[in-house]
Structures are given as C-alpha cells and as structure tokens.
Symmetry: D2
C-alpha cells in the first residue's frame, strides 16, 4: 500500500545527485533513531586511515542502495514487465533501505572479535521493540517479518531477494560507485545507467539483457580493481589487525577483572556477549574511537600502546611472504618469546581473501550467485560462458600472505635477531 | 632548510587527485598525534545532518591547503619571481598545514559556547609541549614561533601571511572545492589551475594578473552560492542551535552540581574553562557525539531531550521573519512562559551573517582583505573597481531572520496559542 | 498520436549520458537527410579556433534539446499537472528537435553577410518538399504547420512555445552544458536535475517553484560567465570578422564577374540570394571550409589572403578602445588609405553585444522573456524582484569596443604611421 | 637549445585542463598551416556516425600527446634521472607534437584504398619544402631529420623512440582519455597522474615502477574495453566499409574516364596515386565530405547511392557469422549476381582485428612492444609475467566475422532469396 508524500523529498547525494523519497513509509524509516545511527558507522571501516576521504557513512550508502532499487523497480513498472510482481515494491524498497541496519562499529573486525553477525542484528532491530518496527507495522502486522525474510534471503518471492542480494545488486553497485567517489580512486566508475537499463525481471530472477554484457564486464573488472586497490589495501589490513587486537585485549582484561577508567555502556555487555537490542543500538564508531582515545591512558601498557597505534596512526608494518611455511612462523614466534616480544600481539599473519567480501566466482556457487544473460531467444547463459574476460578474472586468486608487526619493537631488539629472521622483516 | 624524503610520498585525494609530500618535515608533522586528531573533527561541523556526504575531516582539508600552497610556491620558484623570498618556503608550508590544528569539535558552536578561539589553541599547540612542537624545533629553536606568528598574522614577512590568509588564499580555495565535492553541491567548482597560474608575488602581497579577473569573479560567485546553499543552510543552523543549547545546558547543570552518569575528561575542565593543552587535545567530535548518545539517558529531561534531537535528528523547525520586531519577540516569549514553554530553549532568533564566515566586502576593510589585480603596467587595482559583477555581489546582504522552535512542543499547546502567534509559526 | 518503438533507442551523449528515443516519429526525423546535415554544422561556429575542443555539432545539440524537453514533459506527465496539455507532447518534442534545422554554416556570420534568417529556413524545410515534411505529415496534414508555428512562436498553445523558447528553455540549458563540456571551460556547470524538478506548467507558461531560485541564479550566472569567457572571446570575434570579410569579398567578386576556379553549387545562388530549399540544404561547413582551402589559390590577392588567414589561423589582432570616438576612427581610416591599406578590410570595429545572443534583461522586454517564480500561495513574481544577484547581473553592460586589424600589414608600414595612431595599435 | 617564450602560452583542453607551451619552437610549429590542417582531420574518423560527440580533431590529440610527453620529461628532469639524456628534450617534444602530421582524411580507410601510409607522409612533410620544415631548421639543419627518424623509429637514442612510441606511450594515453571524453563512454578513464609518476627512464627505455602495476593493469583493461566498445563498433565498421567503397568506385570511374561534375584538386592526383606534398596537404575531411555531398548528384547511380548512404547515414546493416565458411560466401555471391545485386559492393565480410590498432600482446613481439616493470632491486620483468589479469587479457581474441549489406536492396528481392540465405540476413 502506498502513502505518497504530498511532495517528493530529496537528499542531495554526490553519487546519485539526488535520492528521491516519494512515500511516507520510507521517509518515516529514514527518520528513526535506528536508521540515523548509521550516520555514526563508516561504510569502509578503518579505510579512512589509508584514504582520508573515506569517511562516508552507512547512512549514505543505505540511501544509495534504496535509490538504485527504486530506479530498477521504476523501470520495471514503466515497462510493465509481467515477471515483476508490483505488489512487492514496498517490501523490496524497505529491505534495500534497511539491509545494513544491524552493522556495528568497524563491522568486520568487531564481528570477528565478538562472534556476531550484522544480518542477525538487522533482523532483531526490524523485529524488535524499535521505532523501525513501529513504522513497518503501519503496513501490516506481518510486514516487519516480510522485510526480515528478504534480508535473511528466505522470502518466498525469490525475485525480491535476488534484487536486494545478488552479484549485481543495488548494494554492490552503490558501494562500488560510492567508495570510488570518496576514496578518490577512479577504478570504480561504472556506467550504472546502462546496467540498470539492461536489467530484466525473468522467471523469479533479475537477469541482464545480452547486449549489456560489456557493461557488466566493466562492472566486474572495476570491482576486481577496487578489491585490490582499496578493500584489501595492506595499510587498511594493518589497522584492522590492531583494531581486533584492541578488542581482544580489552575483553581479556575485562574477564580478568581489570578496572577500566572508561567503560561506558554497553561495552561491558559487549565483552560478556550479552547485549539487548537497545544496548546494541548504543554501539557506534564514535563510542569506539572515544574509548580508544581514553584507553591510551589506561594502566595496562599493552592496551594503551595498541590504542595509541590506532588513534595516532602508528600502524604495524608488513612484509610479504613468498609462501606460508608454518615451521618458519613457529620459529619466529619462538624467537619473539625469547626476546620478550609477545607473538600473540606482535605478529599477525594475514591473507586478504579471508575477508568476508566476495569476488565473483561462478564455479563455486549455486545459481543464486550467478549473473545470467538473457538473449533474444529468451535463453539464459551464465556470463562467464559468454565473456572471455569474466572467465579470465574469475579464476584468479591474487591474495598474498603478509606478516604484520610493530616495527619499533623489532628495531629495539634487532641486534639480537637471527639474521635470516631480520631479513624476513627487512630490518 | 630542506630535508627531502628519499622518495616523494603521496596521499590519494579526491579533490586534488594527489597530495605530494617531498620533505621529511611535512611528513613528520602529518604523523604527529596532534595532526592526526584532525581526522576526528569534521570540516563542516554539523552540515552532515543536512548533506549526508559532508563527513570530510579537517585532516583532509589541512592536507589540501598544504598542497595548494605547495603548488603556488612551486610556481613562484619555477618562474623565479624576485618578490618571493625562497627561504620562506618551509615556514609557509608548515603554517598552511597547521593553520587549523587548534580547531575543537563543532568548532564554531563550541567556541561560542565556551568563549574559546581556535587560533589561540593552534598557537598553544605549536608552541607547547607537543609532538608538533618537537618536530618544528628540528628546523631551529625559533621555528615554532615563526609558524605561530604566520598563523597570528603578525609575521614580519607580510607575503607569507598573505599567502596563508587572504580573500584568495589556499584555505578558501581548498574548502570551496572540498565542501562542494563532499556535499555534492556543484556550485563550488572553480578553475583552480587557472587561478594558481595567475597569482604573482608583488611587493609583499600575492596579487592576481589582470587577465585572471574572470576566474576570480567565478571564484567569488561560487563562494557566494556556497554560503547560501551550504554554509547558511537553515537545517544546519537548526542543528547548530541545538548544539549550543546542549553545551549551555550541560554547563549550567555542571555548575549546579548535577551528577552526570557520563562525564569523562576533559569535559569537566571544558565546563570550567580550565583546560591544559594536553586536555584540549582529548576533545574531538567522537567524544561529543558519544556524550550526547549517553546523555540521552541522563535524568535532566531538557538535556536528554536536546541530545535526542541532535543525535536522532529531530531538529527545530524554523519560520522566516519579515523583519525583526523586538516587541513581537517579547510577546512570544511571554506567551511561551505562560504556556509552560521555556523561551530560553524553545525559541531562538537567528541571523546567518552573524556566523564567523566572511563574504568578501572590499569597502569595509583594510587593504589586507582585498583582492588586487596587477595590470601590464604593474599597476594594482582592487577587483571591485574593475569588475561589475564583484561590485554587485559585494553590496548584497541576503541574510534573513529566522525563528527556530521545537514543533512538537508548540503543537502540543497550539489550541492555547493566540492566533496571530500561531500564524507566525505556520501552525 | 504515439507510435512507440518496439524497443527504446538510445544515443550515447557525453552531456546527458543517454538520449532516449521512444517514439517512431522522433526516430524517423533523426534519420532524415535534413537532420543529418546538422552533423556538418558546428554548434559554436568559429569557436573551435579559440577552444580546440569545440567541434561539437548542431546535431548533438538538437538531440540534447529534445532530451531535456522530453524529461520536462515526462515530469509534467508523472505529476499529472493539470496546466500541461498532454496532447501537445509530440508537437513540443518535434519542435524541440527541429528548432535549429535551418541553421547554415557559421550561422551568425553567414546570416549577417547574406541577410538570411535561420528560423525562416527552419520553417521552409519543415513545410517544404523534404523528408522531414514527409515524416511529420504522418501525424496529420496540419502537423508540419503546427511544428513551424511553435518555431515561429505563434502557436496558439502558448505553453508549448514557452517550453521551447524562453529564458530558461531546453535550448539554453543544453547549450550551456554542452558548450562548457566541449570547450573544457567549467563555468557552464549547472544543476540541471534540480532546475528540471522545479519547473511547473502554470497558466500557459513554464514557471519555477520559488525554492528553485538559487539554482536559477546559478544558471544565469553561469550563462553570464560563458558569454564573456566563450561566446564573446576576442579571438573568436576575430575569426568571425575574417569570415564575414571573406563572404563579402567573394560576393563582390562574383558580382563583378570574377572567374572562380572553385565555385560549386549552391554558392552562386547564395551570392545572388536566390536559393531553393534543396540548394540551401547543400550548404554546410565542410563546403565553406573546402571553398576557403581552395580559394587560398584564387587570383584575387585579397580573397586568397583572407582565406589563408582563416584556414591557417593567422587571425587579426585587436586592441581595446577606451571609448568609441568616430573622429579618431575616421582619421585612422584616412591614414590607412594614404598608406595603401584598405580600411574596409584592414580595420573593423567590434562591439560584442551586437551579437544575436541574449543576456537576460528583465526590464527591456515583454513577459515572454521573463523567468517567473511561483510561491506557495501560487503567486508569480519575476525573478529579479526576488533575487538580488539577478538584479545585479541584469543591469550590467560589459561590452567594450575593440579594433581588429592585420598586424603584419600594419607592421610593414609602421615607420610611416603617426605615433598616436601607432600607439593605439600597440605597435 | 631552448628559446623560452617571454610568457607561457596555454590551450584550454577538456582532457588535460591546460596544454602548456613554454618554448617558441613548439609555438611556431603549432602555428604552421601543416599543423593547423589537423583541425580538419577527425581523431576517430567515421566514429562520429556512431558516437555523435566524437568530432574531436587530430589537432587536439596532437596537442595532448605533446602535453603528456612534456609532463613525463619534466618529471624526469625534476628527479634528475641519469638515464634520461636532457639534450633530447626538444626532439622528443617535436616528434610527439608532429607524429600524426601526415594523417589524411579518414585515415585508415583512405590508406587502405590508395595504398598510402601516414607515417611516410609525416616524414615527407617534416623533410619537405614546408613551413614545419622551416621552423624545425631553426634548431639546426639536421634537426628535421632527427625528428623524422624518431617518427620512423630508427633514431639512435632508443629512449626517445620508446617515449613517443610504445605500448604505454603518450599517444595511447592521450587517445584513450580523449576518445572516452568525446564519445562519452566512460571506460577510458585512467589514472594518468599515477601512471606518469611511475615512469622511469632505464637503460634506453621507459619502464614502470613495480608499484604502478595496478595502474597499468587498469590502463590495459580500459584499452581493451575501448577497442570493443568504440573502435570496433559495428556501426563504425559499416561506415568505413561504405567509405572504402566510395573511394574504390570513384577511382574506377576516374580510370574509366568518367566525367565528374565535382572533382577539385587534388582528387585526380589522389586517384592516380601521384601527389606532391603540397597537393597532399590540400586533402582533409571537409574536402571528402563536400565531395560526397556533391557526388550524391553524379550520374553514376552506384557512386551517388553510396555517397547518400554515407552522408545521410543510411548505412549497411550487418549480421554475425558463427564461422567463416567460404563455400557459403561464394554461394551468396552467386545468388546475389543472379538477382541483379553486385557482390563487390552489396556484400562485405569484415573481421575487426584486421584494423591497424594494436591490442597489447606480449608474446608475439619484440622487446620494444613490451611493458616492463622495474622492481626495487632494479630487475625488469615483462608485465604479463607478474600480472594475472594482463596475462588473461592478452590471450583473448574476441573478433567475430560480420557480413555487411544494404538492407533495402535485399528486402527488394527477399521473395526470390533462398530461405537459408534470407535467414542468414535475418530477413
């Protein structure tokens, strides 16, 4: 059911120029405290320490995902495609807008440190005692559950799930454009107008007209470059490592009964993995940054040092490993311990593809993760069957092992380091 | 004295593409905790509540100002202009980089609320017991004082002051471009390459070659539009009003001995107007946001309400006043009090030109604030003598009085409001 | 009557990204020889001699005007505004597409030299025995006349005329953006999305919602800058002067019975001012350039010299006059004659505002040329009543008198020139 | 020897913002009639019939190549790299500026039709009795020969040749950016600043610092996309086919003694393959277009028809061939002849990679055509050894056979076409 606003509202957006809000439901959702919280969560986590422009929030990204979804559906409606169920517009728009609602501060790191999952939290917020839930229930008592099930990917209208979550969905298109814009890296420029014009609802999926193949190739190549230039940037990885170490150390200290000078709600609950929805919503990146600023002055030297490194950007250095030889790693750890270093904090091995980002790999997945091309005879083909370039990209694993370490601490003991180990660290 | 880096370092910047660092001094300054703190201060304060892209920091702006200054000096050096003193390069670059170092969180509002001045703090940080000061002293014991005096505008080489602070300085050029980029408003696009190419050092000033007049006109017109479209946007003004009210209320409560559940350092010192440099450096926007998030749960209803308004973006509405009639205002205040509203918090009169931004007005100022054109016969003329469009702009005062108020509170008593007053508020 | 294409066609356009063609009528018009001829007419005439990127054609501009008109009407239809007559869509789109059809090569100069008018020719082509006419008649026998009358501005539905021809019409918006893009001058950037969103059909006119005032101000300021930076650029003026001199000289020679080695159809008819529509359509800028290339080798020294100047870009120099003193001009002409120069060709006085471009001047014109703002109470106000900046701009006359001359010829006689005259020419 | 201009001159350029001319030699070369002729030769030949923005000239491209070369050399000089011979600056800049001087109208097609080579003509113009030659000789009698030998790639300083002509040269970088800009296709966006910063002179070659690998990958991927999206676009291929047919038919007619109503110099010489340099310089695209406009009225029906097709853009349609089966082609030709069609004109088989563009293929070529990466230990490696993505791209042959034909002529005889053949043409 639509409740059009008396007058369309717009948000000025550097990426899409304007985000158009035409329905009171969307407007009300944007104005809930839960959605406004996304202003205090960065879209790219710690990347701002590598690319100083990357301060953009999940709030702006969420508006962008909503806007792209709106444009796709609007094109489907204009063209009266019979495979698009028009009554699903509202649930699709709401799911697009709200899909990131459960992200915590520095999402990937905090999820790893505290074994959480942002999708679960999104559903809890949508279904819990929140403003967002109240607004959604105006559409019907079962409406929050519908939105949640799109987000959980088990909604019974598969095309709605496909629209909001697929290798060529509004989410990925927005973040590619947005992250390119705010980092200033120009690899992410894609011809979104052309891609959108080429999308078709077809038998419960969103597919691409065959003549749009080159635009999709370009999109996948842009994504490929953004992964290696931005998302897996070693400096960003270094800051994420320190972030996780801080979380780990703070949790250890808390469990050991350490007295923090600064430990506001809901941090104790976070450490105990016992958070209500209300408490969870108090978590944001301002709180995390403030804690780290304050913890630079805590008595625990390790915690204070790690927080200084993060806040004052004295990150770990890294060195590339030709291969991952566990014997060598064990030897390094042993030497570290001998020299008074702590191998649990002073050494981290990192392999970027561990990250929960997905590069498109047609072979290892079910049909849902494929991009399908629709030819003039209404036949579907998976894009890598048709495109040499996509086939070439999809087989490539470029990740390399890196070893991260505090250079100052190693330099202090460099004269005691065996030469072969010193060489590994370029000391 | 130059200490070139073994290899030039660059920062990827969306506005200037790359920021180039060629000297170890600059590199070391960027890596001090005091400079890194600027990552946690937004360039545009509360504007992100109006333009969601405007999350960019003073860190990125400061790099931009440095980069523009570097390019100007580099052009001066390449052309071997005799009016440029080459030995002043380092002091000019350092002053450009550090000129915003003393900004606090939501600078304009906090300065007004606590009677501080960011320029004073910049000088205190430059001259105090800080990392920045240590790095600067590598250039000589008097070097910090030199940099501070450029920032205070009393350095004895006037041209250095003029380069860093004038109506056409690197500061203004960077923020115009940067704010336009991050808000997405395209009024700020200026031909900076052309302007830079037209600048000349001349008799202790930076002046503009006459043939660059149109580019300067365009710059001033862009600035004019940015003021009205962005800097004075009524929604931004509303958020600044609430911000100042929060600061005011918190200070009142603190002075009354109210017990805050959340009041970390250095907030008590801030309320008492008694901050050391070390404490001041703990202040940033993450702390302010976190405090407001927490204060939403404090016992004082007014404080909690104001903090909710700011954090959850339930701002005051506004209405335009045809003229400022103090009798009417007094009457409104009286009625407010009768109805249980608090005119000190529920009503604010605002006139945008009160803001500490300067629109170029040649007539009301000394020569230092003028833009001078240099003709082929080496004669100087103030630009508004030559340019009709500048003359036209400079006389215009467009500010209007606005009345800001909490719409929900007024709606609750609307049946008791005299009709003429209700009309004023469009109720 | 609409005849939708089975599938929308698009043109890739650097300015609007895509131009969308949805109706067979528009598609057929674009594919007529008369419309394709516009590929061989530059949008900015001789400006490519000043700005080497400005080679864009009236073909691309016409597509752009069509596209903007299509977007405006589409917004009117989406919003179901009652003041827009939906049955006028086709005539409006055709008039928008075809409004420049009658432009000749280097339009402004050739019109002046041969007393022609491109609007007349547009109507002749629309109404004559042409492919365009045949396509238009598919819509009805009176349809070509309807389109012609919109172009002549006497169509009985005033709003259609207003849409296609007004101070804020699709024509001006497209050329501002397009000329800025192709010259590379960034003064022409306007927020066209916002302007289009603010347009309303209202009582037989297209007006602007009051809240769009700043966007219109910006548009008018951009236009102002483009006039002075691009359209009135003295180097372009110089090339136009030489162009007119070539036309003048060739016509003189033709009337004197001179034998041209190169004089293909329809040049004789052009010189005799006796051209059929069929002949007129043979005229394009390729023909004019080819003629000039060939005429560099004609026996008449003056014609050959002028053609070399144009083709090889050896343009006249210019000097600015403080004021226009006819006594001085007459004295110069006398001296020129004495020294064997030809004052009819070796001296031209130019005053840019003579050009048939219009700067917005609210005071000197009927209501049709005004930009009207619509406030919330449905009152209309002329923009300069409300906007200080528009009022400021509209009064400004910046044109200056320039004297153009062949520098080489003057240098050859410089020793015989009286000093005061030599000074005027900076010799 | 440098002769700096008293004041730097600039050209406003949409791609590089400004092209800077600092030396009188370059300025004088730009102002020769031979260089100005490049204004009348389009950079992308007939592509404007597919992408209406692509009217940009070889004049603008040549300035761009010069500008990029200037920036590379300027970086080499600033960094005082010992492998760059500073005395070669002028010859490198001149070769960069002039490398396209010998291009004729619609270069690739005319070269094929008349067995010419633009590089030969460039050298003839540089060495012949021309203005360009006169200007070059100011630098020394042997200077024109030096420039010519760089263009012929046999100059004895290999690094100069490498700078002007290699897989990562200024030529390719400019055309990628420029063609993307003017067509509006955004696949060509590359981070040229970064690539330029990564170039190093090294042992007689220009190589790339290893850390620039991703930027080079992106450049090669952009090029790959531009080839398939723009350079090999089937509509452009169709217009080139017609162009070659016109040249072929006109030459046939001329050799048969046909009387042309329009046949100005130097067309007879062109048909006889007997052109002096002076005559060659009369050739440009204005002449070719004018000839075609006029020839639409010649008595030979075939010539007139072909010219109409080109000028009025009634191009041949095309159909894709699964494979090239000469038996089928011969059968089609036989049927065509039976039905009164002319298989020499009404049927063309096309395979895009025949075009003289090079896609980077490391395996099939000498070291000169390789892109080499320089690592920290000063070792060189060919990029496809290091980059998976480059290795993937370089093996891909995407070309497909197309059959081009006049659809109207085939439709006229469709009832007599055997069904299997009609099917091939989608009739």
């Amino acid at each position: 059911m639509n409740h059009p606003l008396s007058e369309e509202k717009v948000f000025k957006d550097p990426v899409h120029n304007y985000v158009h809000v035409q329905d009171d439901l969307i407007w009300s959702l944007i104005n809930t405290p839960e959605f406004q919280r996304l202003r205090r969560i960065r879209q790219l986590g710690t990347s701002y320490l590598t690319f100083h422009g990357a301060e953009h929030s999940r709030f702006s990204h969420s508006l962008g995902v909503y806007e792209i979804t709106r444009r796709i559906i609007s094109q489907f409606e204009r063209s009266s495609y019979t495979d698009w169920p028009p009554e699903e517009k509202q649930v699709a728009l709401c799911a697009a807008l709200l899909h990131d609602l459960g992200h915590g501060p520095f999402s990937h790191s905090i999820e790893e440190a505290f074994h959480m999952n942002h999708e679960d939290w999104t559903c809890k917020i949508v279904l819990g005692d929140t403003e967002v839930n109240k607004v959604l229930r105006r559409e019907g008592e079962d409406f929050p559950e519908k939105v949640a099930s799109v987000i959980r990917k088990d909604y019974d209208k598969a095309i709605v799930v496909n629209l909001v979550s697929s290798p060529l969905d509004a989410d990925r298109m927005d973040y590619l454009l947005r992250d390119a814009y705010f980092t200033g890296v120009n690899y992410g420029t894609i011809d979104i107008d052309r891609i959108l014009r080429m999308l078709r609802p077809f038998q419960g999926r969103v597919v691409v007209k065959e003549s749009g193949m080159h635009a999709v190739e370009d999109y996948l190549m842009s994504r490929y470059q953004m992964y290696w230039q931005v998302y897996f940037h070693p400096v960003t990885r270094s800051s994420e490592i320190i972030l996780r170490q801080i979380f780990r150390r703070a949790k250890e200290l808390h469990q050991e009964g350490f007295h923090f000078n600064f430990l506001p709600d809901p941090l104790p609950g976070l450490f105990n993995r016992d958070l209500t929805v209300e408490e969870y919503l108090l978590l944001d990146e301002a709180l995390v940054q403030t804690s780290f600023v304050q913890w630079r002055r805590e008595e625990d030297g390790l915690l204070a040092d790690l927080c200084s490194r993060f806040i004052d950007r004295k990150l770990y250095k890294y060195t590339e490993l030709e291969m991952l030889d566990m014997e060598i790693i064990d030897e390094i750890r042993r030497v570290f311990r001998e020299l008074g270093l702590d191998p649990n904090y002073d050494l981290e091995i990192d392999f970027p593809t561990d990250l929960p980002y997905d590069v498109f790999r047609p072979e290892d997945d079910s049909k849902k993760k494929q991009i399908l091309l629709l030819d003039r005879q209404d036949r579907l083909r998976e894009i890598s069957e048709v495109s040499d370039i996509v086939r070439s990209i999809s087989g490539i694993h470029r990740g390399k092992y890196h070893m991260y370490y505090p250079e100052d601490k190693l330099r202090a003991v460099v004269h005691m380091l065996p030469k072969d180990i010193a060489d590994l660290f370029n000391l």
